[in-house]
């Protein structure tokens, strides 16, 4: 286990960024563990959410942003709802993902790929084209076995349209993404 030198390795700027972007005060956390206790994903996390909060308090930017946990949080709001100090923990997890993206980190790449595929679909069609999303995801990850078993169950029901329902104003939606890209790069 690494020794953390608290005089040198405490990234106060990181703490401030998290607080600013989430609107939450991380010093309110007294480490009761209620978030970890209620989190349905604790079993899948590499760092339990209460320790993510602790590491944020300690300014451990690299450890936090490289964790798998931040990509496995489903924003189910269990932590936020039950936090005795009214900290919006789920929002902090969201913000940590934003920061990880900016640092080019994604410890669970297939989750990021799936989300990106989803947004690509929205950008192209104005709405999610589910079949296209799946094909896009499978192509990007090379996980060709993904949900193959579900095909026979779902295709005959006509639920998965084979062609996208583009909306008329899809350019409006595309422009939202374009402006967003421009704003984030400026």
């Amino acid at each position: 286990m690494n020794i953390i030198n608290l005089t040198r390795d405490h990234d106060e700027d990181f703490v401030h960024r998290v607080e600013e972007e989430s609107g939450q005060k991380v010093s309110l956390c007294y480490q009761c563990g209620n978030c970890t206790a209620g989190c349905p994903y604790t079993f899948a996390y590499d760092i339990p959410v209460s320790q993510i909060m602790r590491l944020v308090q300690m300014g451990q930017k690299k450890t936090v942003l490289s964790s798998k946990s931040i990509w496995l949080c489903a924003t189910c709001e269990s932590c936020t709802t039950r936090c005795p100090n009214n900290i919006d923990v789920a929002c902090i997890m969201d913000v940590l993902r934003h920061m990880a993206r900016r640092e080019g980190l994604a410890a669970v790449p297939q989750v990021k790929t799936f989300w990106d595929s989803f947004l690509d679909s929205v950008r192209a069609h104005g709405r999610v084209f589910e079949m296209g999303l799946l094909i896009n995801y499978v192509t990007k990850t090379g996980r060709f076995w993904t949900d193959m078993d579900l095909g026979p169950k779902i295709l005959p029901k006509g639920k998965l349209a084979l062609k996208p329902h583009d909306i008329q104003g899809k350019e409006h939606v595309a422009r939202i993404f374009e402006r967003f890209d421009r704003e984030s790069n400026s």
Partner: protein, 652 residues
């Protein structure tokens, strides 16, 4: 007037951000200021001597001290100037610590502001007149409100000190929360064995009058002479005749009412005596469940009562008690665990409070001291204790620590092992708070000798699975989620202010905090006094306390009352309203607005005039701002004085 100004450094507390020497020097420009100096600690012995010496040497006739809040040291300095031969009301303070040096670090602004505050103190002092207090007699009876262990202790100490005591208790028996406990920490003493004799002492003490099943209705008067109206709620039993034999309870056909004494985990009859050691041991009828009241017919208790004590037509009665001092010892109530639905309280019967668990442990409880879980009466093997339920929780507006839960939970794990040797206790905690003599050792014993498994973390939810309760929590030390299949879940419900506490505080004219706990006069130095003279506090009504702390406060409050009553006459505060009868037109508006009925109408040369009753006036000044003529003036807060302060601040 010859005024001296003393600007205190208060060590570095003031001097750190205020140039006290510059303030002192500048005040010499103020009218009638003939002497000014800065001083290290004005309240210390050399500091006070310096003031006295200056008064004598410089022939000062008035003194301003610029230091801390007058709420702290005004009496100290008034005594000092009196020792130097001045009238003690020829003194004013400027609060340059709490209101200046402690709330900002800008030395220039603070120095400037301090000078302003001295300026208004000087202007006020220039218009002060010497005042002489008058004396009034004291009624040496004391009322104790609340018959828990704090109130019992206060009552016994006052009564042993020779005072007449009136003890008022809301329930039908005294004993409070302590009477419900099985054992006490850290000695594992039997609670009713140590409290019971004290309760008997109350009953037998010739100096104590007990009004049980009674509540304070209204309070009038002031220190030394309060009039308290006490509502004696109808018990429907003539307590003069009731012998406490229990025949009525045996025969009462309404047997399935939730028993408040047993924290509603057991049934009781509509006519009841809460527990065997009850004081007074008298029966009372709960009219909300009694068949005679609900259905209009029954009458069984009246038939079986050997002394004919049942009175269905009894009504509430008001009695007036005249007392000279009041001790509030109204205790606390438990946090309502239903406010945390994820723990399933209210939904799952086997999720209970710590106090309910005490009743399950107690030999006089509903299970005769056998731990049986409420749902099916089975003996639980895995028992989960959850701490801080309604404590240290901002989201529930209960950010404070209730103080005693850590200790009673440790005790309960020990008792659980004693009752059920093959049981396993689990305790979810955030921090163990055990600062008391033998307290921490006690929690260690629970773990080391009794094998209680302590888990550092909170519980997110409790849900049923078969006949078990799944407890899902976290072990933050291991960094993992944990699950326990529990048979019984005990919630360490936090303490909150007793129901009705704010209303009682308003009757007593004392302050309470945002949670309903009563405010002491000073958090460190006047823990049992209030800001209302003659009203004292004891026990958990001021904030959560364990038994020894409550008992200590009961004795402390008694000592305060005994000290107050050691004098036959009290001095009234002379800062009261006075009528200029030349200006008074007898309109009577002041009489109507005075909250204390301290102004009366008198005839003066055939004309109606107002007159202030000196010892009744409390000095609020409402009359002064009501009087259309400016004829009634509150001494030391006259219109002229306040306007002089205003002008001093507005001059540029």
């Amino acid at each position: 007037m010859r005024i001296g100004v003393f600007v205190c450094h208060c060590g570095s507390n003031i001097e750190g951000t205020v140039d006290t020497a510059a303030v002192a020097k500048a005040t010499l420009e103020f009218p009638e200021v003939v002497y000014a100096t800065d001083t290290m600690y004005a309240c210390s012995e050399p500091g006070q001597d310096g003031i006295i010496q200056a008064i004598k040497e410089k022939n000062l006739t008035g003194v301003v001290v610029a230091s801390c809040t007058p709420r702290m040291h005004e009496p100290t300095f008034r005594k000092a100037v009196e020792r130097a031969g001045l009238n003690r009301f020829m003194f004013e303070m400027a609060n340059i610590r709490e209101h200046v040096s402690w709330i900002g670090k800008n030395r220039e602004a603070n120095t400037n502001k301090s000078l302003d505050l001295v300026r208004i103190a000087v202007e006020k002092l220039r218009r002060d007149a010497p005042l002489i207090p008058s004396k009034f007699s004291v009624n040496k009876r004391v009322m104790i409100i609340g018959g828990g262990v704090a109130g019992i202790q206060a009552a016994l100490d006052c009564a042993d000190g020779g005072l007449q005591v009136v003890l008022v208790e809301r329930e039908s028996t005294i004993g409070g929360k302590m009477a419900k406990l099985d054992k006490t920490f850290p000695t594992v003493d039997c609670s009713s064995c140590i409290l019971g004799p004290k309760m008997v002492d109350v009953a037998q003490h010739p100096n104590i009058t007990l009004h049980a099943y009674s509540e304070v209705d209204s309070i009038g008067g002031y220190v030394g002479n309060f009039q308290v109206k006490v509502k004696k709620k109808a018990t429907y039993v003539d307590w003069e005749l009731c012998t406490g034999c229990g025949a009525c309870i045996e025969k009462c056909p309404s047997k399935k009412n939730p028993d408040a004494f047993n924290e509603k985990i057991g049934p009781c009859t509509s006519i009841n005596i809460p527990f065997p050691q009850a004081i007074p041991k008298k029966a009372y009828i709960d009219a909300t469940t009694c068949r005679q009241f609900v259905k209009g017919k029954c009458g069984v208790c009246a038939k079986v009562c050997p002394t004919g004590a049942i009175r269905y037509d009894m009504t509430d009665e008001i009695v007036t008690e005249d007392v000279g001092a009041i001790v509030a010892a109204t205790g606390y109530d438990l946090f309502d665990i239903k406010k945390i639905p994820e723990y399933g309280s209210g939904t799952y019967p086997d999720v209970i409070t710590g106090l309910q668990y005490e009743r399950l442990l107690s030999a006089s409880g509903p299970t005769g001291g056998h731990i049986k879980r409420p749902s099916d009466g089975k003996e639980p093997k895995n028992i989960v204790f959850i701490q801080c339920v309604g404590s240290r929780d901002k989201s529930l507006d209960r950010p404070y620590c209730s103080g005693f839960c850590c200790m009673y939970t440790a005790k309960q794990t020990i008792l659980t092992k004693d009752h059920i040797p093959d049981s396993q206790s689990y305790v979810f905690y955030m921090d163990i708070r055990s600062p008391g003599k033998m307290y921490d050792e006690f929690t260690r014993r629970a773990m080391e000798e009794y094998g209680a498994r302590y888990i550092r973390g909170r519980v997110a939810m409790v849900y049923p699975k078969g006949d078990k309760l799944m407890v899902r929590g976290a072990d933050t030390l291991a960094g993992t989620q944990v699950e326990i299949e529990a048979d019984l879940v005990v919630l360490a419900a936090g303490a909150e202010a007793a129901k009705g506490a704010p209303q009682l505080a308003e009757k007593l004219r004392i302050s309470y905090d945002k949670y309903g706990f009563f405010m002491e006069s000073h958090p460190k130095l006047k823990p049992v006094e209030t800001n209302t003279a003659g009203v004292y506090l004891a026990g958990s009504c001021q904030g959560p306390k364990d038994i020894p702390q409550s008992v200590g406060q009961g004795s402390a409050a008694a000592a305060k009352v005994l000290a107050l009553f050691s004098k036959d006459m009290l001095e009234s505060d002379p800062q009261i309203s006075r009528v200029d009868i030349k200006r008074c037109v007898g309109c009577g508006k002041c009489i109507m607005t005075c909250p204390f009925k301290a102004i009366k109408e008198v005839e003066f040369r055939g004309q109606k005039k107002a007159e202030v009753i000196e010892t009744v006036c409390q000095g609020c000044g409402i009359c002064t701002s009501t009087c259309p003529q400016g004829a009634i003036q509150l001494s030391h807060f006259t219109d002229n004085q306040i306007l002089a302060e205003v002008n001093a601040l507005c001059q540029s």
